[in-house]
C-alpha cells in the first residue's frame, strides 16, 4: 500500500497529467494520490458547467469508495467564474455524497496567501476563460474573486491558452518567465506571486522564483498539497517548494 501514511483523493478537471508528477515531487514518502478525472478540455463556461453536473458527483463518489483521507477538486475557473464564496456550493454537494473532508483548490491558494500574510498579489497564468457568450472574462472574474478574498491584485498576465491540451504543451520554463514579467511590470511591488493552474509545470519553478524575486510564491499544486497534508496531520515535504512550507520537516 503506497498510501500507508495518507491517500489524497484528487479530481482532475481533465485527463490527469503533470499534476501527478508534481505531487510526488512535493509529498513525503507514504502519501499517495488517487486520481479521478473529469473531461474539461476547452476552458469555457459550457465545458465547466457540463463537468460540474453528474460527472463531478461520480468522481467524488469514486474517491469516497476508494476510502481516501481527503478530497481536492481542482480547476480554478470552476470557482472564480462564480465569484468569491461560490465554492461553498461545491462543499455542500460533496457533503451530500461523503463525510470525507473536501475542498476546491482555489480556496487552498487563498488560505496559503493569507497564511503568508500578504495582501498585494501579482498573478501569472496560462489560460483564458470564456463565459457563456464567448467573451474573455479571465481578468474581470479573477480581479473580482481576489478582491472578494481580500487581496489587492497589482499585476496580472496570462499566456492566453484556450484548452488544457494547449497548456500541456507549454515549456517548463514558461511559468518562471511569466512570473518574472508580471513582477517587473506590476505598478506596485507585489508581496507574493500567485501562479494558478495545475496543468503547467509551475511547482518546480517555486524555489527559483522565490530566490530571484525575494517574495513568496504560491502555485496551484503546492497550495492544495499544503492544505491536504496539513489536514491529514502530515508536516513533512520534500525540499524546494517554497516559504509556504516554512516550519515543516524537509527531506530530499
Amino acid at each position: 500500500m503506497y498510501g500507508w501514511r495518507a491517500r489524497i483523493g484528487y479530481v482532475s478537471p481533465c485527463p490527469g497529467e503533470g499534476e501527478v508528477l508534481d505531487f510526488y515531487q512535493i509529498a513525503p514518502s507514504g502519501v499517495s494520490l488517487v486520481v479521478a478525472t473529469l473531461s474539461v478540455q476547452r476552458i469555457d463556461q459550457k465545458s465547466l458547467s457540463s463537468a460540474l453536473s453528474e460527472p463531478l458527483d461520480r468522481a467524488i463518489r469514486d474517491l469516497a469508495e476508494e476510502e481516501v483521507d481527503f478530497i481536492v477538486l481542482a480547476g480554478e475557473p470552476m470557482v472564480f467564474l462564480g465569484g468569491y464564496g461560490s465554492e461553498q456550493h461545491l462543499n455542500d454537494r460533496a457533503k451530500k455524497i461523503t463525510s470525507i473532508p473536501f475542498t476546491h483548490n482555489l480556496p487552498c491558494a487563498v488560505e496559503a496567501l493569507r497564511h503568508l500574510g500578504v495582501r498585494r498579489v501579482a498573478m501569472a497564468m496560462p489560460y483564458i476563460v470564456r463565459d457563456g457568450e464567448g467573451r474573455d472574462v479571465t481578468y474581470e472574474r479573477w480581479a473580482s474573486y481576489m478582491k472578494g478574498a481580500g487581496f489587492e491584485l497589482v499585476g496580472f498576465k496570462t499566456l492566453g491558452q484556450p484548452s488544457n491540451r494547449d497548456i500541456s504543451y507549454l515549456p517548463v520554463y514558461a511559468s518562471y518567465r511569466l512570473a518574472r514579467e508580471v513582477y517587473e511590470e506590476s505598478g506596485e511591488r507585489p508581496e507574493a506571486i500567485y501562479i494558478p493552474c495545475g496543468r503547467w509545470p509551475a511547482a518546480r519553478n517555486i524555489s527559483k522564483l522565490e530566490y530571484d524575486l525575494g517574495i513568496p510564491v504560491v502555485t496551484s499544486i503546492q497550495a492544495w498539497a499544503w492544505k491536504a497534508l496539513k489536514e491529514v496531520n502530515i508536516r513533512e515535504v520534500q525540499v524546494g517548494f517554497g516559504r509556504l512550507f516554512e516550519g515543516w520537516s524537509k527531506r530530499n
Partner: protein, 252 residues
C-alpha cells in the same frame, strides 16, 4: 511541457494511485502519464462489462488530449470478455483515434513472447474465477501455466482474505506492498520449472519488486505497468528507462 519525449495515455479502470506512483519510477525524463479513470470499484462480471463498454469513449478522450499512445488496462476486462477481445479493442481504438494502442493483457503476452519463455508461474491478487480466465487466456496465447495463485477467503493472511471477501479496487490498493513478492514466491515454490513469472494487475505494488524477484528466483518477471510501458516504448522508439525494472527492458 513535461511530456516533450512522449505522452502516454492510460485508461485506468478506477480512480488510481499505484500507476501514477510507479510510472514515474520507471520512465526517463520527458515522458508523462496522461490518465483518465473509469469507475470500476467492485470487480465482478457485470462491472467489468460496463468498463468494456466505456473503454472506447475513454480512448477518444485521451486522443483529444493528443497523447502519443493509448493503454487500456484491466486484465479481467479482457479475460472475461473472451479470446480476441483485447485485439478487437486495440483495433477499435486505432480506427477511432488513429493512435497506436495496447491493453495490459496484450502487452503482457507480447512481453512474455519477447522473453522467449513458455512455462509460466503466475502470481495474482485475483479470486479463483479470474485466475481461471487469465490461465485460459495465457494458454490460448501458447503458454503453459505451471501454477497460478490468487486469493480466497480461506487464506490465512488478513489482507488477502479481506480482499477475497470484497474484491474491489480499494481493497487491492490497501494491500501491503510486499504482498506481490510473497505471492510470487508462493507461485515459484509450486512451479520451479517456470521460465518466467507474470504478476498481473496495476493496482498492487508488483512493479516495485521486479528486480528482487528476478534476483531471488532467477527468472524474468513481467508485471502490468512494466509490460505496457515496454510496449509503448517499443512503439515510440524510446530506449531509456530507470534501472531496476527487469530483463524485459533489455528487449527494447
Amino acid at each position: 511541457m513535461y511530456g516533450w519525449r512522449a505522452r502516454i495515455g492510460y485508461i485506468s479502470p478506477s480512480a488510481n494511485d499505484v500507476v501514477g506512483y510507479e510510472f514515474y519510477r520507471i520512465v526517463p525524463d520527458g515522458v508523462v502519464l496522461v490518465s483518465t479513470a473509469l469507475s470500476l470499484q467492485q470487480i465482478n462480471r457485470a462491472t467489468l462489462e460496463i468498463a468494456w463498454n466505456q473503454m472506447l469513449d475513454a480512448a477518444k478522450e485521451l486522443a483529444r488530449a493528443q497523447v502519443d499512445y493509448i493503454v487500456s488496462a484491466g486484465d479481467p476486462i479482457y479475460t472475461t470478455k473472451g479470446p480476441g477481445s483485447d485485439s478487437k479493442m486495440i483495433q477499435s481504438i486505432k480506427e477511432q483515434t488513429g493512435l497506436p494502442a495496447t491493453t495490459s493483457l496484450t502487452s503482457a503476452v507480447e512481453a512474455l513472447r519477447a522473453l522467449s519463455v513458455r512455462k509460466l508461474a503466475v502470481a495474482t491478487p485475483y479470486p479463483q474465477e479470474f485466475c481461471k480466465t487469465l490461465k485460459n487466456s495465457l494458454e490460448l496465447a501458447g503458454f503453459e501455466v505451471l501454477y497460478i495463485n490468487g486469493i480466497s477467503e480461506e487464506l490465512n493472511k488478513p489482507w488477502l482474505s479481506d480482499l477475497a471477501k470484497n474484491f474491489s479496487n480499494v481493497e487491492l490498493a490497501k494491500l501491503p506492498y510486499y504482498i506481490p513478492y510473497q505471492m510470487a514466491r508462493d507461485a515459484f515454490v509450486h512451479a520451479k520449472d517456470a521460465e518466467a513469472m507474470y504478476l498481473p494487475c496495476g493496482r498492487w505494488a508488483a512493479t516495485r519488486y521486479i528486480e528482487t524477484i528476478e534476483n531471488d528466483f532467477g527468472v524474468p518477471v513481467v508485471t502490468c505497468i512494466q509490460s505496457w510501458l515496454w510496449a509503448a516504448f517499443r512503439t515510440l522508439g524510446i530506449k531509456e528507462v530507470q534501472q531496476g525494472y527487469g530483463k524485459l527492458f533489455e528487449c527494447l
